[in-house]
């Protein structure tokens, strides 16, 4: 690789295209953090491919100077799977929205996760359909008033993290568009994971669903409304670090540390390799009853899909020798017609 010696900078990943998101959209912040993180990962732009579906978020590939495919609604995981199987040498990112990945593309999304293809998914969750101008999405909350639900949403929302656990994901994380340091760290950890990394990002759509995540974004409240997951550390949160999460039977509960009755050791210690059932409990922590966890929920190592698939090809070549068409054609019963 002739670029190995070059030190990459965020600018190396900036494309020449005008960005067309609404001013103030949370997507800008995610793009900025991505451009900051990509050089740190150290993979050159030509080895990197961004694949997206359709939605505001899915315009993302045009704004990074790497290879990219802006595909069709919901199908980015499938395009990415084919690319990664054909080209395991590439670093592949899937950019998707809540409608793109959980509504029209729900099927591909779960199958990508269970296969553990070595790529990274970033789901821009704004709990709304942005590009089609404000209909409710599968993550919209009950009662949410949108253009298509003037009397309020009546369906029950999907929880992307819970789905990821159910789909056997090996890396699951969450961050918030405005929490830029945290976001950068999570994106970097996702890139480092071998296998499918899934990152849900709370993203503000200031035009159609403004403030959906203000509780988690607002610097004044976020220490009390979110909890940073740190591997091996007790689950403590709050501006004063005075609250914690404790496992009580099969449920989680918020406990007060300030009163002195509960000690740190009584709290739940976060374990990225914990049993999925426990990770599932974490995914159910919802504002306002609970602080919502951000950071890495789960990080385990399994064989990747392309390793397994390529492994069978290598094994077949080893056992039977490289295929020879002429021999294949002549295998079995043949006969010759003489001149």
């Amino acid at each position: 690789m002739n670029t190995a010696l070059k030190v990459l900078k965020a600018d190396d990943f900036a494309s020449d295209q005008d960005i067309r998101w609404c001013p103030g959209c949370g997507d800008y912040s995610i793009l900025a953090q991505m451009k900051k993180v990509l050089p740190e990962i150290g993979i050159p732009p030509e080895q990197t491919v961004f694949i997206s579906g359709i939605g505001c978020s899915s315009r993302f590939p045009y704004y990074v100077n790497t290879y990219g495919v802006h595909s069709i609604h919901g199908r980015a995981p499938a395009v990415a799977t084919g690319l990664k199987l054909a080209r395991p040498d590439l670093s592949v990112w899937v950019i998707t929205g809540d409608g793109d990945s959980l509504s029209i593309g729900g099927n591909h999304f779960i199958h990508l996760l269970r296969r553990n293809v070595d790529l990274n998914i970033v789901l821009f969750n704004n709990r709304i359909y942005g590009l089609t101008k404000g209909q409710y999405s599968p993550t919209s909350v009950e009662g949410q008033i949108t253009k298509s639900t003037p009397m309020g949403v009546v369906d029950h929302p999907l929880n992307p993290i819970s789905i990821a656990i159910g789909a056997e994901a090996t890396f699951i994380a969450r961050s918030v568009d405005s929490n830029i340091k945290h976001l950068a760290t999570v994106l970097k950890r996702a890139a480092e994971h071998r296998g499918t990394s899934f990152v849900e990002v709370y993203q503000n759509c200031n035009v159609f669903n403004d403030g959906a995540f203000s509780y988690a974004q607002d610097k004044a409240t976020r220490d009390d409304t979110t909890i940073e997951l740190e591997h091996g550390k007790p689950m403590i949160f709050g501006k004063e670090k005075d609250k914690g999460i404790r496992l009580n039977g099969f449920s989680l509960e918020v406990v007060n540390l300030a009163e002195g009755k509960v000690k740190e050791d009584d709290l739940l210690f976060h374990d990225e390799q914990a049993d999925p059932a426990l990770v599932y409990l974490l995914s159910r922590m919802r504002h306002p009853q609970f602080p919502e966890p951000i950071g890495v929920f789960r990080n385990v190592v399994h064989e990747t899909f392309e390793q397994a698939v390529r492994g069978q090809i290598d094994q077949a070549v080893e056992q039977r020798g490289k295929g020879d068409l002429q021999k294949l054609f002549a295998s079995g019963d043949t006969w010759t017609v003489k001149v």
């Binding site: 295209q17 069709i72 990415a80 799977t81 690319l83 054909a86 295929g323 017609v337």
Partner: protein
Amino acid sequence: MSTQASSTIEKPVEFVSGITVRLVGDSGDGMQLLGQQLTNTSALLGNDVATFPDFPAEIRAPRGTRAGVSGFQVQFASHEVHTPGDTLDALVAMNPAALVTNLADLVKGGLLIVNDDSFEDKDLKLAKLNTSPLEDPSMEKYRLIKVPMTRLTKEAVSEFGLSTKEADRCKNFFAMGLVYWLYGRNMDATLRFIHGKFSAGKSAIAAANEKALRAGWAYGETIEALGQSYNVEPAKLSPGTYRNIMGNQALAWGLLAAAQRSGKELFYASYPITPASDILHELARYKNFGVCTFQAEDEIAAVCSAIGASYGGQMGVTTSSGPGIALKAEAMGLALMLELPLLVIDVQRGGPSTGLPTKTEQADLLQVMFGRNGEAPLPVFAARSPGDCFDIVQDAWMIATQLMIPVVVLSDGYIANGAEPWKIPDMTKLAPFTIRHPQESNNPDGPFKPYLRNELLARPWAIPGTPGLMHRVGGIEKEDGTGNISYDPENHQKMVHIRAQKVANAAKLLPPQDVEGPQSGDLLVLSWGGTYGACLTAVQRAQAAGKSVAHAHLRYLNPFPSNLGEILGRYKKVLIPELNMGQLQMLIRSRYLVDAIGYNKIKGKPFTVSELYDKILEHTK
């Protein structure tokens, strides 16, 4: 052949030019296997062969019922044959349901061999019959041979200690032995098959099957009811080494050949569907050719993953049947906008919806031509026979890579499961396809231009991993040259025209249409796809009867060959037989303003030669 005879009485052998046999029984009776063995053996004896397997959609419909009847028809001859035959010289029926549903096709005086043991009351009841058809006076029209196959098989294999069920399973080999004797078929290939198939720990079953096969042969030699046997001389095929090949197998091998010729790894993605699944099964066995097969979660994922592989610089291929092609439509439009090479293969079956999953039809032509949003033309090719599947997919991949375009290939259930002798090609004689992946930017003054075109209007196939050529592609309309998103009205019009012209340019790379028969005259029969053999045979028969008729068979349906319009103008009438409501007819009429006459059959069955022949006579009076 006489070396295999164990009896002392030599019966006379009559040589005939061709034989059509149909073997019918229950889905579980092994009729397909019997048919395949007879086909392979006949091909090995040098006969030309054509087959028609016909089976129900249900895996094991209730035993003995009409719904569960599975059949296999084969014609083997000492001359060229292009169809499995219209009427039967012999019918082998394993039960009453199979008999009554197939008897109509047996010629008067034809040989009717039945398993007498399965005509008891309970069997008649399953077939919804009150009386045995064997007692019917109409049986006098046929040479009926009643063979107690179940009993004779059981006796023959008694020494192997098999369960009743296992012993009963051997009876198709008994039937096979009898048929082999009747037509002087050498048993060697089938014996090799038996011992190859049942080797691992199942030697008793293999031995029993061999015994049943030989018992069937011996039975033919001995019984008085069969006074003679028949045989068919080898056909005069062009010199070369041959094998028997089925359509889906030829298609899979053609993909391997195309990958090799283009120096690509084959990435093949599919979701199981009849009658295309066998291509997936076949290719999954050839991982040592570097083939990556991917059984996706649905047809959309299959085509999208193939697009991803093509973007990565490999050979992206997806196959399905009509319902799955419908699901792929949006992604096919994407591939056309991305201007990437891709093969989308449709093994057609009876529609609409689930339709007739195991039967044949040609009703997806307009779907693949027009079944996409926007102005979205694609090249469409169609295989004409099992062996032709090998060639057509290579043509398709050549066009896909030279023009940077997805290409649709049509096959159908009849071709997919049919078999014919196939002259083994010499791979060293098949020229490689030249494919270039640019390494240098085509724009010294700015970023690489992914949509800058060559003289055929193909864009460069720059692949990820190439420094300096980073670019983004997508389904949104793009500016020609730069590939940047563009909503400019003039640009859109230009791009729509460019994409149409790319398809038209395929005709420059493909051979002109040829015509079999007189270069002008009263009637041109114009056909496409799996009806080739029947149309050709009917036309040849009419020509022999002195009619002024010619045959043109289209392998390239979009774009049409450049000389097609001119050919159509040289005949007084154009007849287009199709297994649909007139889809090619509609295309020909609108494109050439020719008053083409349709002949349409939508029964899930191929044309017979005689119905086509009658139609030709009607139009050449």
